[in-house]
């Protein structure tokens, strides 16, 4: 059913720390690796070894230059994936009922057996979180690794999304953002976590932690002369100054 549930028992999602993310793309690789062999159609690559490769990914890491009014410019890496919105526009536009949001944990999923590949849900998403798989002709999106997080065949420490499990800097956190006492909710409260494009009215679940405030940039004058020359240098300085 493409009607959104009136409320969800939990709001599972990600909290991504933009202060800690180094832009290594390990989450991208881990995501592609896991979702190539598990839930639904594999994420295909087109012309992978040719001159114009193109493939399906559920997670993309962008890099931006941010210049605050009172500080030096800094590079910020922004991993972009499905935000599992409360008011997910991708769900309600779906004509076949393939797109749905789960009432029990808020995860937005695609039933690939019912997807006709019309692409309308990708148009409706402000975040570019959905990509049509060119080989399977069905819409792919982040499943929050629904086949890992409840998977009792996996060791307990692996029952988190592949991107979170693999992140070498601990920039990605997984948990219930509907519970104000959960670790992720406390992290968001502590660090002032933000929603992306709130004016689109999607009420995303995922939150991004802004980079921590840095002090002013150190003033470095590259050719600064610290002391007066002495000896031969002083003599040269004097002689050259004549011309």
């Amino acid at each position: 059913m493409t009607a959104l549930p009136p409320r969800t028992d939990r709001k599972l999602g990600l909290v991504i720390d933009l202060d800690t993310c180094v832009g290594c793309h390990a989450c991208v690789t881990a995501c592609k690796g896991w979702n190539d062999q598990a839930y639904g159609a594999p994420l295909s690559d087109m012309n992978a070894y040719g001159s114009d490769p193109c493939g399906t990914f559920l997670n993309r890491v962008h890099s931006y230059e941010l210049t605050p009014p009172d500080g030096p410019p800094q590079v910020v890496n922004l991993p972009r994936s499905c935000l599992h919105c409360d008011d997910a526009p991708c769900v309600t536009v779906c004509p076949t009922g393939a797109s749905y949001k789960r009432a029990e944990d808020g995860i937005v999923l695609v039933n690939e057996d019912a997807c006709i590949g019309c692409g309308l849900c990708a148009w409706a998403c402000p975040y570019g979180a959905r990509e049509m798989d060119a080989a399977a002709g069905v819409m792919k999106k982040c499943t929050l690794c629904v086949d890992r997080i409840y998977n009792e065949a996996l060791p307990e420490e692996d029952r988190i999304p592949a991107c979170v499990r693999t992140c070498p800097t601990g920039a990605r956190h997984f948990g219930d953002l509907g519970d104000p006492d959960s670790a992720v909710s406390r992290l968001v409260a502590e660090r002032g976590g933000v929603e992306l494009m709130p004016e689109q009215g999607t009420r995303p679940v995922n939150r991004y932690l802004p980079p921590r405030k840095k002090g002013p940039a150190p003033v470095v004058q590259p050719l600064q002369r610290d002391e007066e020359p002495t000896g031969v240098a002083a003599w040269l300085d004097r002689i050259l100054g004549v011309f």
């Binding site: 490769p53 931006y64 605050p68 922004l78 692409g119 990708a122």
Partner: protein, 296 residues
Amino acid sequence: MHPAPSIIIFTTLSGAGFGMLAWLALGAVPVGGMPALLFWGMGYALAIGGLVASTFHLGNPQRALLAFTQWRTSWLSREAWASAMTLVILAPVALAAILGIRVPVVIGVIGALMCIATVVTTGMIYAQMKTVPRWNTWMTPVQFVLFSLTGGAILSLQLSDAVVLCVLLATALVAVYAMGDARVREVFPSTQSAIGSGRNVETRALFAPHSGPNYVMKEMIHVVGRKHSRRLRVLSVLLAAIIPALLMLFAPGQDILPIVAVLHLTGALAARWLFFAEAEHVVGLYYGAGPGTTRN
């Protein structure tokens, strides 16, 4: 936006087809015999042909019937229902017209209203997209309905009505272009909002996540048409509305109508192509391609 060519052809042709069926349902052409068969046949061919073309861009067209299931929430599903129901309701009207039998006027009126409702559902598929501020206005369905009724009037030889509709269409198109620009200026989100960096933090896309293109870029960050948008806007208004109106006014008679129809449909296709090519999707912000970007 970069839609499949089948979508441009579908929305234009089936729009004109449903407009034509609306005029025919209201008794535009005399009932009975070959002329009625030809006109109704053409109306049905355009409407159905467009619907069939719309399945060409699907990844899995064999499941297209599932699109009838979600009419409670999805405008695309409502469009499927509206178009199918309209074609069914109008079938006895068409048959009666061809056989020269009179049917109660009320069925024709209901059929004509259903035709307009179908075109409204098509327009709403685009108008509902908050992600494309240029489309996200009530002018989108108005534009679609005016194109449909004007094309339909020309194809079903309704000279005086067609002239009036051409004038309305020209006015509407000028308004659509002006309002679309204003809407993009007013409500398009900022890059700061897209990445959550804060209002007074200068934010610049540094490098893309991938060296090649991807589905999102190909589908939604298509900017090829924007370079020529001014010329195409003028061309669409001239071809779809102003030149047809002048021809019908100053060269009256039905002989001119095939030329008028070709001119109008060419203009309609240009306008529909521009409708997609000019549409800036907010996801472009992540790739440093905000509104006004003319090159990738």
